[in-house]
Symmetry: C2
């Protein structure tokens, strides 16, 4: 089955049915993006009205397209889709991304058309992503059916986060957002009405994708009777060391009603989903912001061995808020042993608070951070380190970034940086991340990520994992 | 009492004791910033070692400073502070901001020094902000004792948000952050050890400040026995139409312990605080992000008359998530009356969902937004409008911003925009805000703000208000 899906991501040739020379149209943007990015094979625009599109030879039908061609992208009017899929079948192409809308989402007439589409696909053994979808953006192979030009929707750099989304619109916004934030994307897929290929199959495929380290999913509802397999597949992700982070739509009664209008999803049994997530070691994100905050951490740092935090700060208030949130999320901020406190006190001015949070105060230099990390971490008494290090204190030169990065390499505990402020803080965050330390603009956000690292670490410990 | 505090914000002359020509030092930055920004009177650097500092005549002691001088800023070593305050008293100056640290925060010796400082101040009738504080940043008069140069800490544009913070470090980071986000600041005060002037008095002062529309407070703990007055003062803010938004530090047991180390605050009775906030109509923010999200809304839009939302979106998934969060925060997303749905259906393509959320779908143009606003708002069936309008759909030209702004002027309901995505989304957000509509990057954040608008609107209705 995973072999089937390969055609969507690594085809040796692509036919674009409904290709168009009209700038800005769906059939234009898809050919244009593929021309810019796809290098594994040839692109065959299909449109009987043209002999050439965007400088590429165009073909009247897919039947006229030469070998090799493993994928058809379909962007024609809905009423023409069934006959087009019939041709795809006759041509022996085994994968189609159907972008076109006008199926079950518009009512009974569309639902009948969708049923017909599926029937033809089954008859010819064609796997379908869609219809009514934005399809696939694969940064590793250059497949890009997102049909918005880059000036309207930027593409992120190549990276190790992959996303499966039941909402195409949200997926495209997130992709645009990742591009701005410099978050690296491997693959992004939105499957629209999911007449055939669904979340579970895509999840299975991404687990085996060597480019993917973290998998994000937006789910309103799985297809009926897919729960058990979903849990099994998600569990196998954990065994392979690939965290799966889910944002669930339709958690409330009113939200489930909205989901039913949106995707026809029967999303009302949220408690069932939660139980499944827990069984499968899936990390549930509460908000879209949190989903990406967690994803970023997993691309840079490790799951935690336990729930004990060291909070190291130069701003007492941020230490207090971090501690409040730690307690809310079931994390501990243990007071450091008296003997260790004494050692730290001997190396610090008297107004530094060495309990935990360790408050280096506003007159700190970089060196105090180094001292605390070097004294505390070898003791193996904390599992996660939160380094609150805004660049504002006058004596801070920036070496704190290297000290944290060195400690992160040397010791087991995952580390998260908190850098609050304006432009200079954003610059510091970028430097932390360039040094391999995920950075967040507030203590609250970092603590939620710490909770995810602890949750996942616990699951991995219990279930066993190949990687961690 | 408010008259006393006036000297901190509108002095007719300022003495800076501990002024220094050493670039980057506290006594240098304060004089430099005042020189750049303060226009109401003269600045008198005080330092016996120099006859001139930063081009200004310097004086050996404050006793030598000519009239008028209403405020002394003290930035000298802790052990010299008591005698300096004695001189301030003899000179007849009635307000001092004591920046210097080395008081109760460092232990018994410092506590004794602090007691002495207060005793002298009382004897001469001097009001003190501090010690161990960053003091006052008043964008309306140019007072600026934040002692970090602007390349390290930017100052926000003039605006209507004022902040009182028990943490100086956090306040300075927030100020820097506001500058980056373009959020306008009126006054910011951090009072350090609050030996004299405290949160309650500052709150009272800001309520009468014509430049302040919203007051933010970071509180770990009030001074003992100030609870009742705090509630009374905060209530009077509501009567004057000035929302007070509080971020509380030390909400958990561990957080309260951290707060005790930070500010000596006895912050353990969070439930008592919560009850007080509720009595006083104070809006409690859960995170620092939320505090500013709420503040922004109150500078631009109105409190809500009730809890009924209209959610208008072009992204079904965002509508679903918004609805989930609405239910979590006790807001309603009522299905539109059948007759109104029919009217909308008659003006929209068949795949548009007109229930609520109204999902205009990815092929929407600006016009569909206008139609929905014009049909729904006159019906007076919703109290808050959430407009989810990312700029990605190809048919969107940007008129949606004007349509929302016009409806915001024409109808009573407050409106919030959600614009998710990258650079183009940020540009759209700025345009929404330029048109008077607060914009947020995710539906979750907008819904939390909507909940604050509803909570505050309910309180105002119950208690009565001069302004709304």
């Amino acid at each position: 089955m995973a072999e089937d899906l390969k055609n969507f991501f690594e085809p040796r040739g692509i036919a674009v049915i409904g290709a168009s020379p009209k700038r800005g149209s769906v059939g234009y943007v898809i050919v244009d993006q593929l021309k810019k990015r796809y290098r594994r094979g040839r692109i065959y625009p299909v449109n009987p009205k043209y002999s050439e599109i965007l400088g590429l030879k165009a073909y009247p039908t897919i039947l006229d397209v030469p070998d090799p061609v493993d994928l058809a992208v379909v962007a024609v009017r809905a009423d023409r889709v069934p006959s087009i899929v019939e041709q795809i079948g006759k041509r022996g192409v085994k994968a189609a991304i159907v972008i076109s809308g006008g199926f079950s989402e518009i009512g009974p007439e569309g639902a009948e058309r969708e049923r017909k589409l599926l029937e033809i696909a089954r008859r010819y053994g064609i796997r379908i992503i869609g219809p009514n979808c934005i399809g696939v953006l694969d940064n590793t192979t250059g497949i890009d059916t997102f049909f918005l030009p880059e000036d309207r929707l930027r593409r992120p750099p190549l990276g190790s986060i992959s996303i499966i989304s039941q909402s195409g619109a949200m997926l495209s916004m997130w992709v645009d957002w990742m591009a701005m934030k410099g978050l690296g994307l491997a693959k992004a897929v939105s499957y629209g009405n999911k007449v055939d290929v669904d979340d579970v199959e895509l999840l299975r495929y991404l687990i085996d994708d060597p480019h993917t380290k973290v998998i994000l999913m937006y789910i309103e509802a799985l297809k009926p009777r897919r729960g058990k397999e979903f849990i099994e597949v998600a569990r196998s992700a954990t065994v392979k060391g690939k965290p799966v982070v889910v944002l669930k739509g339709g958690r409330s009664g009113a939200g489930a009603r909205a989901a039913a209008s949106h995707t026809g999803a029967l999303a009302s049994n949220y408690e069932v989903y939660r139980a499944a997530f827990k069984q499968a070691g899936i990390i549930e994100a509460d908000t879209m912001e949190e989903m990406f905050d967690i994803a970023k951490a997993f691309t840079m740092t490790r799951p935690a061995e336990g729930r004990r935090l060291l909070i190291l700060t130069n701003a007492g208030g941020e230490g207090v808020i971090a501690t409040d949130f730690a307690e809310r999320y079931g994390l501990e901020v243990p007071v450091l042993p008296e003997e260790l406190q004494q050692r730290l006190r001997a190396k610090m001015p008297p107004h530094v608070v060495v309990k935990n949070p360790v408050d280096l105060t506003g007159d700190t230099d970089d060196e105090r951070y180094r001292i605390v990390l070097e004294e505390v971490l070898p003791e193996n008494i904390v599992d996660i380190v939160i380094v609150i290090a805004p660049p504002h204190p006058p004596a801070i030169r920036g070496d704190v970034i290297n000290y944290v990065a060195e400690a992160h390499k040397k010791y087991q505990a995952p580390m998260l940086a908190v850098v609050t402020g304006g432009y200079i803080a954003e610059e510091y965050s970028r430097k932390f991340e360039a040094a391999g330390i995920p950075a967040y603009p507030s203590p609250e956000r970092a603590i939620r990520v710490a909770a995810a690292l602890a949750y996942y670490g616990e699951y991995v410990k219990k279930r066993g994992s190949a990687k961690y």
